[in-house]
Amino acid sequence: MSDIALTRPVPVTSEPPLARYLLIGFAVVFVTLFLFAPLLTVFAEALRQGWAGALDALRLPDAQAAIRMTLTIAAIAVPINAAFGIAAAWAITKFDFRGKAFLITLIDLPFSVSPVVAGLMLVLLFGANSTLGGWLIANDMPIVFAFPGILLATLFITFPFVAREIIPVMMEQGRAEEEAALTLGASGWRTFFTVTLPNIRWALLYGVLLCNARAMGEFGAVAVVSGKIRGETATMPTMIEMFYNEYLSVAAFTLAAVLAMLALLTLLLKSLLEWRHADLLAATRRH
């Protein structure tokens, strides 16, 4: 018996070792330069004047008002979108009706509309120069340059997030389980809470996570409709812009760092969900 094949041949479905190392090296360098470097910059710039400088920035009344505004918006927009997403998924996956494909396209539409154009639409609809807007302002219910406008802008931008995560999962699961529950005498709501919701909970959580990240971070649409009034309609991202343009670099980057930490938390939770519940999210990943 001879000792052949000691030079371990390359597996048929892989590249030669050199190419492999080069590609891995490329991936590491690419991600470092394009993704990690900007992220690190945020924290480095925030701490340029030490922790004290960053903490001072967070104590600015404008910064605190912006943080409150952003949290409030997310706290309202995310549940609305989750409720919409569940309703849309239920209607679309449990029933057959005409125009369904078109409806799905409509739900996806905000993905391909520029945030600024989204803001523009709201200004045209509810702004002082429109009939509807004029009436609303006359009746003391301003939408543009006020809280409702920011909420609507955020809703528009994050609109497809939850629906698009749970529709594929519910599509894959079909209707048999719900039908079985009904034959066993469960009511519609009971069926939903005991059968449907447990099946989609991880996908729902996943969608809510992405929706929340985007809701807190939305800039373009909010910048247009909010009027960026300090202490009143400024959100964290728009406040970042104002600080930055006033050369209050540390303040801008400190707020940015808070949002960046939130993004990192989102990524962490998202990765955990993907590793733990890969099977239940599988339908989504395949599109």
């Binding site: 993704l35 992220l39 910059t41 409509l106």
Partner: protein
């Protein structure tokens, strides 16, 4: 809209409620605003619309938005594919970390990305200083816009292609090798064509997102009219001047571009399904 007319009967309850909620939210949040923009366009009329758009500044802004998005998406097409390949096919220390990091542009607010990239590439920034001796200026030039859009678009390509690479049948690569093909030939003639539909979809998604991108771009762009002023910024400027008609005109032009790209994405999907037949 009662059951039985538009939909086939189903034993499951809640159609009225769920359909009602869906249509209400959809109408208020999406349909009404879009109607407002299109309605404004109709009121202005096509001729005036064209007159308003037909200026050098708007033309430059629209072509800049489209050109930069195209360049950045092409870049992402190539490097996103390589990244996706490495993440699926190779096992190395830190792979999961890099995999998770690919979603950073989805999770990081655009304004944050914008100021961070600007600080990095500004003449006194870390990258800016490193590139200056090479005569390269990134911040406040069109190249800066490319960099921002590469950041924004990268996950679209990677995340669209990745699952398709995961599901490639090893048989195809193996049979190609038994037929005498070298690895590079297999990659080019077997793998690449199989990935093409996903690559095109990812490319189109990245492009659609980049064309309208605002937050990450305005800080690094410099915003010089006719040179580095993107179309969304021009809308913002017009709105700040209370020139709603001019803003609406640019908005409609961008919406048309978005719709065209949405149609293109759908067409790609239909085409690939027919071609590869993996329904």
């Amino acid at each position: 809209m009662r059951a039985g007319i538009l939909r086939s009967p189903s034993p499951l309850p809640g159609f009225g409620l769920s359909f009602g909620i869906m249509m209400t939210v959809l109408s208020i949040v999406v349909l009404l605003p879009i109607a407002a923009l299109l309605g404004r366009g109709l009121m202005i009329g096509p001729a005036d619309l064209w007159d308003m758009l037909n200026s050098r500044r708007i033309w430059s802004a629209l072509t800049l938005s489209f050109r930069a998005a195209l360049i950045a998406s092409l870049f992402n097409l190539v490097f996103g594919l390589m990244l996706a390949w490495v993440l699926v096919r190779y096992r190395f220390w830190g792979r999961r970390f890099i995999d998770a990091a690919v979603d950073l542009p989805f999770a990081l607010p655009t304004a944050v990305a914008g100021i961070a990239l600007t600080a990095l590439y500004a003449p006194n920034g870390v990258f800016g200083q490193a590139l200056a001796p090479l005569g390269l200026q990134v911040a406040y030039t069109e190249v800066g816009i490319w960099v921002a859009l590469v950041f924004i678009g990268l996950p679209f390509v990677v995340r669209t292609v990745q699952p398709v690479i995961e599901e490639l049948e090893p048989d195809l690569e193996e049979v190609s090798a038994t037929l005498g093909a070298r690895r590079i030939y297999t990659l080019r003639r077997v793998i690449l064509p199989t990935l093409t539909p996903a690559l095109l979809t990812g490319f189109a998604l990245a492009l659609a997102r980049s064309v309208g991108e605002y937050g990450s771009v305005i800080f690094i762009a410099g915003n010089i009219p006719n040179l580095t002023e993107i179309a969304p910024l021009l809308i913002v400027i017009r709105l700040e001047e209370y020139n709603y008609d001019a803003a609406a005109a640019i908005g409609i032009a961008m919406l048309v571009i978005s719709f065209a790209m949405l149609l293109a994405i759908n067409a790609i999907q239909v085409w690939s399904r027919r071609r590869i037949g993996n329904v």
